[in-house]
C-alpha cells in the first residue's frame, strides 16, 4: 500500500469541500401565508452586521473561512450524494471518499485549533443516500494518528469501525472500506471510534449521515446542523460551542430563507464533555421527528434537547419576514458561540 501524502489527500478532498453549488438550489414551493406580523420592533432587522457583539455577544474580529478551507454557510446546504453506479442486481451503489486530515482551524478570530477532520472540514461531509441503496465509504487515513469511521445505522459487525471485529483500526497512511445498506431512513451520524473517544470526536472527526426514505420527502429548503464544542485548551471542557465548525457564523451572517417555504433541518449533537445540547427557534414552532425514522412528528415545539449522539429532523415554515434567532437553550452555550439568525425574505 502506497503511503498517502498530505498534499495528495488535500487535492483528493477538494471536490468534496467545493460542493457549494448546492447553496443556490432551493425549491420554490408555494409560499403559505400564516397571517400578518404586527411586530413593531423589526426596524432593527434592517441593520446587517453592526452591533451583534454588543447586543448578542460574539467574537472580536472575523474568521477567515477561505483560509480554513470550509465555510459553515456552505456546509449548511452541502449534501454529498457520492458517486452512483448501478449494480447487476439493479441496486444502486453509492460510493464516498473520506480522508482523515490534521488541519489547523481558525475556530475563533485569531485562535488556532489543531483539529482532526474528515476531508479538512468540521463537520465532515454530509453523506446522503437513499433507503435500500448500498453505501460504500472508502476511508484513507492521512493523519499521524490511527482513526476509523463508525456509522450509526444498521450494518454488519465487520464494518462497525471500532477496531477488532468491527474492521481494523486504520493506521496512519492506511485505508479501509465500509460497505453497508442504507438503513433505516432518518438522520444519523458518523464519527471516529478510536480511543480516547472523547478526544478523537472533540477534535472534529464527526459528520452527518442522512438516509432518505425510498419515496423521498416533500420538497424543502434543506439544511444540516451538527452541534459540537471546541476544547481550545485541552482541559476536557469546551471553550467554544458551534454548529458546523465555527461559532457565531450564522449570527454574523444570517441564513437566508424564504417566507412560507418549508424548512427542513437535519440536526445532530456531537458535543463532547457536555452531556446534552439543544436547539431553540425564535418566533416559531417546528415539528420534530426524533432520529427522522418516523413520518409522523413526535411533537410540535420550539425547543428540543439532544443527548450526545442524538439527532432528529425539524420542519417548519416562517410566516413573516425578518430576523429570527436560533440557539442552544443553554445560555452558556449560546454566549460561547452557538447562536445564529434566520433572515426570512420574500
Amino acid at each position: 500500500m502506497a503511503r498517502l501524502t498530505r498534499r495528495g489527500l488535500i487535492l483528493r478532498g477538494a471536490p468534496v469541500i467545493a460542493g457549494a453549488a448546492f447553496v443556490g438550489a432551493r425549491s420554490s414551493s408555494a409560499a403559505e401565508h400564516h397571517g400578518h406580523a404586527v411586530a413593531v420592533a423589526d426596524a432593527a432587522a434592517a441593520e446587517p452586521h453592526a452591533g451583534h457583539a454588543d447586543m448578542h455577544g460574539g467574537f472580536q474580529g472575523a474568521v477567515d473561512h477561505a483560509a480554513n478551507g470550509f465555510d459553515p454557510h456552505v456546509i449548511l446546504r452541502d449534501f454529498d450524494a457520492g458517486q452512483t453506479t448501478r449494480l447487476a442486481s439493479g441496486r444502486t451503489l453509492r460510493t464516498f471518499e473520506l480522508v482523515a486530515l490534521e488541519h489547523d482551524v481558525e475556530v475563533a478570530p485569531g485562535v488556532t485549533f489543531p483539529a482532526w477532520t474528515y476531508n479538512g472540514r468540521i463537520p465532515g461531509p454530509t453523506i446522503r443516500a437513499r433507503e435500500g441503496e448500498l453505501v460504500r465509504v472508502a476511508f484513507a487515513n492521512g493523519s499521524n494518528h490511527p482513526h476509523t469511521i463508525h456509522f450509526h445505522g444498521i450494518h454488519p459487525a465487520t464494518v462497525d469501525g471500532i477496531g477488532g471485529q468491527g474492521g481494523a483500526i486504520v493506521a496512519p497512511g492506511g485505508r479501509a472500506v465500509y460497505e453497508f445498506d442504507a438503513a433505516p431512513f432518518g438522520m444519523h451520524l458518523y464519527h471516529c471510534h478510536v480511543r480516547p473517544l472523547a478526544e478523537h470526536i472533540a477534535k472534529g472527526l464527526f459528520g452527518a449521515f442522512i438516509v432518505d426514505p425510498k419515496d423521498g420527502r416533500e420538497d424543502a429548503d434543506e439544511m444540516v446542523m451538527v452541534m459540537h464544542g471546541v476544547d481550545t485548551n485541552f482541559d476536557r471542557a469546551n471553550e467554544i460551542y458551534a454548529v458546523n465548525g465555527i461559532g457565531f457564523a450564522y449570527l454574523e451572517r444570517p441564513i437566508q430563507v424564504r417566507r412560507g417555504e418549508l424548512v427542513r433541518l437535519y440536526l445532530g449533537n456531537m458535543t463532547e464533555y457536555d452531556p446534552i445540547n439543544s436547539y431553540h427557534l425564535h418566533g416559531n414552532f417546528f415539528e420534530y421527528f426524533p432520529t427522522g425514522t418516523s413520518r409522523v412528528a413526535a411533537e410540535l415545539t420550539d425547543t428540543v434537547m439532544q443527548c450526545q449522539g442524538q439527532r432528529g429532523i425539524l420542519e417548519w415554515r416562517f410566516a413573516s419576514t425578518g430576523r429570527f434567532m436560533f440557539h442552544a437553550h443553554q445560555s452558556e452555550f449560546t454566549e460561547l458561540g452557538w447562536q445564529g439568525f434566520f433572515e426570512v425574505i420574500e
Binding site: 457583539a53 455577544g57 488556532t112 481550545t232 485548551n233
Partner: protein
Amino acid sequence: MRPPRWLLGLLPLVLVALTIGAFVGLDTPGLDGRAGPPIEQLTVERTVLKPGSFELTVRNDGPDAVRVRQVQVNDAFVAFSGAEDPIRRLGSATIAIAHPWVQGEAYSVALMTSTGGLVAHEIPVAVETPATDLSFFALMALLGVYVGVIPIALGMLWLPWVRRIPPVWLRVLMALTVGLLAFLAIDATLEGLDIAAQGSQAFGGAALVFIGAAVAYLALTGVGSWLAARRRRQAQVGASASSLALLIAVGIGMHNLGEGLAIGTAYTTGALALGTFLVVGFALHNTTEGLAIVAPIARSAPALPRLAALGLIAGAPAVLGAWIGAAAFNTSVAAFLFGAGAGAIVQVIVQLAPTLRERDEHGLQPRVVGGLLGGLALMFLTGLFVSM
C-alpha cells in the same frame, strides 16, 4: 612593556561581547529552539472596574510573546479593546472589557490567546474602583494621617514619662520596643511574600521581598555609619542615641509605607471598610511605634521640631503608601517595599540589640526577655484589630 591596567580590566568584557555577537550572528549554532509549543504566561497586575467595563492590566511573565484574541466573562464571549499587538516578554498591556457587571457579584474573566489557551482571572467581589481625583487623594491622605501620623505622635508623648523611669526599666522598655519591631519585621515579610505570590513572577516574585530587605538593611547600615562618622567629627554628645532614633523612625516609616500600600489597595478593591474599627485598631497598633522612637532618646533632650520630624518620618509614609496602593498598585513594587520595610526594621533591631544587655553581663536578664515577649504580645493583640 606591560599593558595598561584598564585594558586588562576591559579585555574579558570585550571578549564576552564578541562571543555573544558571534553566537547570535551565527544563529545559535547547534541549538534549534524549543521542542514544544509556545509558553504563554500572563499575569493580571491590576483590575480597574468602571461602570459597564473591566480594565485588566496584564504582564507577560513567560518566555514567548502572547497574543490575546478573544475575551470571555462568566462563560460568554464579550467585546473588548486593547492588546491588539502581541504582548512581548515582560511587556504589559491594558485590556478594556465591556460588561454590564453588577455591584457585589463575582466575575470570572478569561483571556483567550491565539493558541486557544485561557488566562483566567477572578474578580471575587465587583466594586467600582474609586476615581483617582483630588478628593480621593485627600481621603487617602486623611486615612494615612489617621493610621500613621496621629498614633505615632501620640505614642511619642510617652517621652516625658520615659525620661523619668530608672535605667533598669528603660532597658525593659527598649526590650519591649525590640519585641514590637520584631513583630513588624515578621509581619512585613509575610505580607510581602503573600503579595509576591499573587502577582507577576517576571521580576523575581518572592525574591523581591528578600532583595528589598537586603537593600534596605545595607542602605540603613551605610547611612548609620555615615551619620555616626559625621557626628564624631563634630564631637557631639549623645549622637549615637539621636541617630538611632532617626534610624528607628526611618525603619518604622518604611514599614508604614507598606501598611499604607495595603490599606490603599484594599480600599480600592472594596476589601476594606473605612470605619471606626479600622482607625481605632491602627491607632492602638501604631501608638506603640511612637514609643519605640522615643525610648532611645530618653536620656537626651531633643528639641520639639526634631521630635516632630522624627514622627513625620515614621508616620507620613503611610500617606504616600495609601496613594501608591490606591492609584498605581503593582505587586512587584509592593513586594519589594514590604521587604524593604522588614529589612529596615531588622537593621534597627541590630542597632538596638546592644542596649538590651546590662553592662558586664552575659545573656539577657529575665525582665528584658519579658519586655521582648511583651512587645511581641502587644503587637499581636493590637494587630488583631486590623487584620484585613
